[in-house]
Structures are given as structure tokens and as C-alpha cells.
């Protein structure tokens, strides 16, 4: 089997399958996606924000709003590409059924990637709607966030899929959250500016995908064009591409033997 992925539009029925399942559970799923980050954003934003003068030149709630958009997008893509993809692959054997039809593993993994990114877009969008409703992102520039959110979703979905490919069970995902996702939330400017951290830690944080996300979304919400926008976008796309490729190789090793 060649190492180069053969991509095709055959992933669409895989995406539609996941969409149909989601549609049946849309309301509880949306509420669940929205409630948790919203509680944090409003609770910390107004509660903790009342104790703070301003953060990065804006009220803390406005600062936190951008972090929340990024983190809930990343979280949603991660959950979908870990737990949901794992249950389709390993527990329900949905992938096995699909692979008996004229689809390849590339189609399935690409369908899962785009699906997880799509779902995370809805999470990001839901937060954005609240952000706009609260007047925390008053300019049209903030509409660009809707173009960035899917890229964040792709990056985290791809990384999540690579983890799913090596996971023996659901329990394994705890390591990914504890060792990667949660520390990233602390290092990448979600709750406070990155420059509050020691220089060496900042450098490390700069490498992580969530740092690229916050450095794109936060200026856009404040009505400014992000500095190094292209660099951050390319970095996220690189995470998405590399993650997808590694995931595909690992899934091949796991499933096609």
C-alpha cells in the first residue's frame, strides 16, 4: 500500500452519517457544548473580572471571551475525534462496515476529520453568538473569527485522531487531556496573557496549536487584524496536515492488517 494518502470526495457519506446521528441528538448536544464554557466564561469573566482592572487593555470578560472561543472549539474537536471516533472505530465497528463498501481508510479518516472540525465549528459559533450578544466583539472584523474557527477545529481534530489511532481504550484519553490539552489551556493565553509566564515557558507555549488560535481570535474580536496572521494560520494547517497524515499511518497499522 502506498504511503501517500489517496483523498477523494468519498468521505462525504461518512460525514453525512455522523451528521445524521448528531441531528437526532442536536439539542442536548448543543446545550452540553455551550453550557460548560459559558459558565466558565461568565463566571470567571464577571466574577474574577470584577477583581481585575483590565487585562491586555480590555475588561477581563472580553479577554476571556476570545480564549473561550478558542478553547471550546479545540475541546469540541478533541472530544469528537477521541471518544466519538473511538466508539465508531472500536466499539461499534462502524468503520469496519464502511470499509466493506467501496470506501478506503483515507475516506473514513478524512470524513471523521472534517466531521469533528464541523462539530467544533458549531461550538465556536455558539460561543461567538453569545460574545456578540453581550457586545464583547463590537466590530465587523470579528466576523473573520468564523473563518479561523474551522482551522482550529481541523488542527485539534487531526491531533485527536492520531491519539485515537493508538488508544487501547477510552481511559487512555485521560492522559491526552492531562498531559496536553489542560496544560495547553494554561500556556497559550486562554485565561491570561502569555506574557504573564516566564520567557522559556512562553517560547514553548508559542509552539502549541492553541497559542496560534488565541493569537488569531483575540485581535479579531477586538477589531484588529492579527499580527503574523498568515504564520498562525499556516501553523494550524500544518498541525492539521501532519496530524492527519500521522493518524492515517497509525490507523492503517492498527486496522489494515
Amino acid at each position: 500500500m502506498s504511503l501517500a494518502p489517496r483523498l477523494s470526495l468519498r468521505f462525504v457519506p461518512v460525514w453525512r452519517r455522523n451528521f445524521l446521528v448528531w441531528r437526532k441528538l442536536a439539542l442536548p448536544s448543543m446545550l452540553g457544548n455551550l453550557a460548560d464554557p459559558m459558565i466558565y466564561m461568565l463566571g470567571l469573566g464577571y466574577g474574577l473580572g470584577a477583581l481585575l482592572p483590565s487585562v491586555g487593555g480590555v475588561p477581563y470578560i472580553a479577554f476571556l471571551a476570545a480564549g473561550t472561543v478558542c478553547f471550546s472549539t479545540a475541546n469540541s474537536a478533541t472530544f469528537e475525534s477521541l471518544y466519538s471516533a473511538f466508539s465508531r472505530m472500536h466499539v461499534q465497528k462502524t468503520w469496519d462496515a464502511i470499509l466493506n463498501a467501496p470506501l478506503t481508510l483515507e475516506d473514513v479518516v478524512l470524513g471523521e476529520l472534517i466531521w469533528a472540525a464541523s462539530k467544533s465549528f458549531l461550538s465556536g459559533l455558539a460561543i461567538m453568538l453569545v460574545v456578540w450578544a453581550l457586545g464583547l466583539a463590537p466590530t465587523a472584523m470579528s466576523l473573520w473569527a468564523l473563518a479561523v474557527i474551522p482551522v482550529i477545529g481541523l488542527a485539534f481534530a487531526a491531533l485527536g485522531l492520531a491519539i485515537t489511532a493508538i488508544s487501547p481504550s477510552y481511559d487512555f484519553f485521560m492522559y491526552y487531556f492531562t498531559l496536553f490539552i489542560t496544560p495547553m489551556a494554561m500556556l497559550c493565553g486562554v485565561f491570561y496573557p502569555m506574557d504573564a509566564l516566564p520567557q522559556a515557558v512562553q517560547w514553548f507555549g508559542q509552539l502549541l496549536p492553541l497559542a496560534h488560535a488565541t493569537q488569531l481570535i483575540r485581535p479579531l474580536l477586538f477589531g484588529e487584524w492579527p499580527s503574523h496572521a498568515l504564520w498562525h494560520i499556516l501553523a494550524l494547517l500544518a498541525y492539521a496536515g501532519a496530524g492527519f497524515y500521522v493518524a492515517l499511518l497509525l490507523f492503517r497499522r492498527r486496522l489494515l492488517k
Binding site: P13, V21, Q92, A101, P102
Partner: protein, 303 residues
């Protein structure tokens, strides 16, 4: 032209050959059985034929396409009933069929038009909107079979289609498979139920340790490999009887646990002898495929 033709197929995992030089052809309209004990290489052979794994060497031609290179094209015309049900638990019966049809690139209208006949075939006509979780094991199997037919395939591959079903459900599946053959479909079936193979298969191969060790119709295999009469004997003193007397009347004597299996061309002498020994209990029957299978693959457990 053969629907599936396999030549010198080999696949090893590490040092262990799982498929070790397999050749066979399946002709249109056949029900071809691939039999073997657990771990004989049946499922690996099926996966190789579908192009899901790459062989170490050998060639596979499926529906005229070279596999695995053109497996996707070949699979367009294939239906697969996997060993374990993998229906979508979140969907209804009809949704399962629609979603599966889309994987073949079928138009929604074409899929919907096929569904009533498939539900009828599966005996699920009144269950279209039922959720999968509430179906019985037999219903799920029938739906899996209907799902495999959504693309109107020429060849249907089944990996142990009745494992885990009760006798009633199993008979329904057998009856449906015969209907499929009448419709002109070709069937490739793996099983370790000899009764199933004997009833359904027009031709079969027996596989063990990655190799094919026998091929033929069930009847010719029985005629070629075993004597027509079997007398199963057990009871007090069967050991001594087997050692001293049995081989006098029978061509072949096998022991398994506390039973002795006597294979004979003519059963009358051994039956006469046994009738004079009230301590021994016996059962006289015709030889079947299971006898052939056990003769060729041995009686040790494979797990």
C-alpha cells in the same frame, strides 16, 4: 469467467504464515464454502479478497479487478455480511439501509426504491422505523444481510453468517441464502458449522493452517474422505472393546474423550457385535461433512 480467482496467495504475520499458498476460483452462481477450524486463516483470506489487507505474494482477481490495487472498484459489486454485526445502533432499520447505500454512491431515490423489497426479504417489512437496539439477534442478522444487498451485488461474502443464532433464526437465514442463489447471486461463505456448509454449499474447500486441504461438493468430499457409516460408541469397557474388537469390523476407529467413533463401509457386523454387549451404548448414523472435517483437521481443540 470466475467471479473471484485467487492464486498462490500468501500472508504472514511475523514468522507465522496465516495464509500459506491458497488457490481457488469461484464461478458465477455457486455457493462456495470456505471451511476451517478457528485460526485456519478464513477471515484473513476474506480480508485479502476484499483488498482490506495486502498479501505478501500471490494474486487476487475480484469481479474482473485486480485486488488490492482496484479493490474499491471491485467492492462496488460486492455485498459483505461480517462475522459480528456492525449495524449503526443510533439509526432505525431504514436509516441503516439509506446510510449504507450512500457509501456506494447511490442516489437517495434509488436507495429508497430498493428498501421495501429488501425489508420484505429480511422479514422486517413492519419494522422500518424500529431502532436497532430493540431488534432480536436474528432480526439484526437479517438486516445485515439486507444491508449487504443494498447495492444489488453479484457476489455476497459472508463470514460465519449464523454464528450465535438460535435454530429458528438460523433456518430463516439458510432459506434466504437459497433464495439469493435462485436470484442468480454468487455466495462465498465461511463457516465452521458443517451442517450449514452441507446444506448450502455447492462446492467447498477445507482450510487448515493457512492451506486448502480438500476441495469438492459436500457429497463428493464425504464419499472420498470417509466411510459411509459411523457408529459412535461409549459406556463401560469401551476402551477395551475399541482396542480388541472394533478394528475387526470397521475400516477406521477414532477415539475422542470417552467415545469411540467407528467408520465402516458396512455397519451390520459392528452393530451385531454391539447388540451383544449391553454395557456399550451406541448411535448409528450416516457419515457427514463433520466426519470429513474432523478426519482432515484432527480432533484437538483449537483455541
Amino acid at each position: 469467467m470466475a467471479v473471484l480467482s485467487v492464486r498462490a496467495l500468501r500472508k504472514s504475520y511475523g514468522e507465522r504464515p496465516v495464509v500459506d499458498g491458497v488457490d481457488f476460483d469461484i464461478r458465477p452462481g455457486e455457493c462456495f464454502g470456505l471451511l476451517g477450524p478457528n485460526g485456519a486463516g478464513k477471515t484473513t483470506t476474506l480480508k485479502l479478497c476484499l483488498g482490506l489487507i495486502a498479501p505478501d505474494s500471490g494474486s487476487i482477481e475480484l469481479m474482473g479487478y485486480e485486488v488490492p490495487r482496484h479493490a474499491r472498484e471491485a467492492r462496488h459489486n460486492i455485498g459483505v455480511v461480517p462475522q459480528f454485526d456492525n449495524l449503526d445502533p443510533d439509526f432505525t432499520v431504514i436509516e441503516n439501509l439509506i446510510v449504507y447505500g450512500r457509501y456506494f454512491g447511490m442516489e437517495e431515490a434509488v436507495i429508497r426504491a430498493r428498501i421495501p423489497a429488501l425489508l420484505e426479504f429480511a422479514g422486517l417489512a413492519s419494522r422500518g422505523d424500529t431502532r436497532i437496539q430493540t431488534l432480536s439477534g436474528g432480526m439484526k442478522r437479517r438486516l445485515t444481510l439486507a444491508r449487504a444487498l443494498i447495492n444489488d451485488p453479484q457476489l455476497v461474502l459472508m463470514d460465519e453468517p449464523t454464528t450465535g443464532l438460535d435454530p429458528q433464526a438460523r433456518h430463516v437465514i439458510w432459506e434466504r441464502l437459497r433464495q439469493l442463489r435462485l436470484q442468480g447471486k454468487t455466495i462465498l461463505l465461511t463457516t465452521h458449522f458443517m451442517e450449514e456448509a452441507e446444506r448450502l454449499c455447492t462446492r467447498l474447500v477445507i482450510m487448515d493452517h493457512g492451506r486448502l486441504i480438500a476441495e469438492g461438493s459436500p457429497r463428493t468430499l464425504i464419499a472420498e474422505h470417509t466411510e459411509p457409516h459411523v457408529v459412535e460408541v461409549h459406556g463401560e469397557g469401551v476402551e477395551a472393546w475399541a482396542a480388541e474388537t472394533a478394528s475387526r469390523y470397521c475400516e477406521r476407529v477414532e477415539r475422542s474423550g470417552d467415545s469411540v467413533y467407528c467408520y465402516a463401509r458396512d455397519a451390520r457386523p459392528v452393530l451385531a457385535d454391539l447388540d451383544a454387549r449391553p454395557a456399550l451404548m451406541y448411535l448409528h448414523r450416516h457419515a457427514n461433512l463433520e466426519d470429513v472435517f474432523l478426519k482432515l483437521t484432527g480432533r484437538e481443540l483449537r483455541d
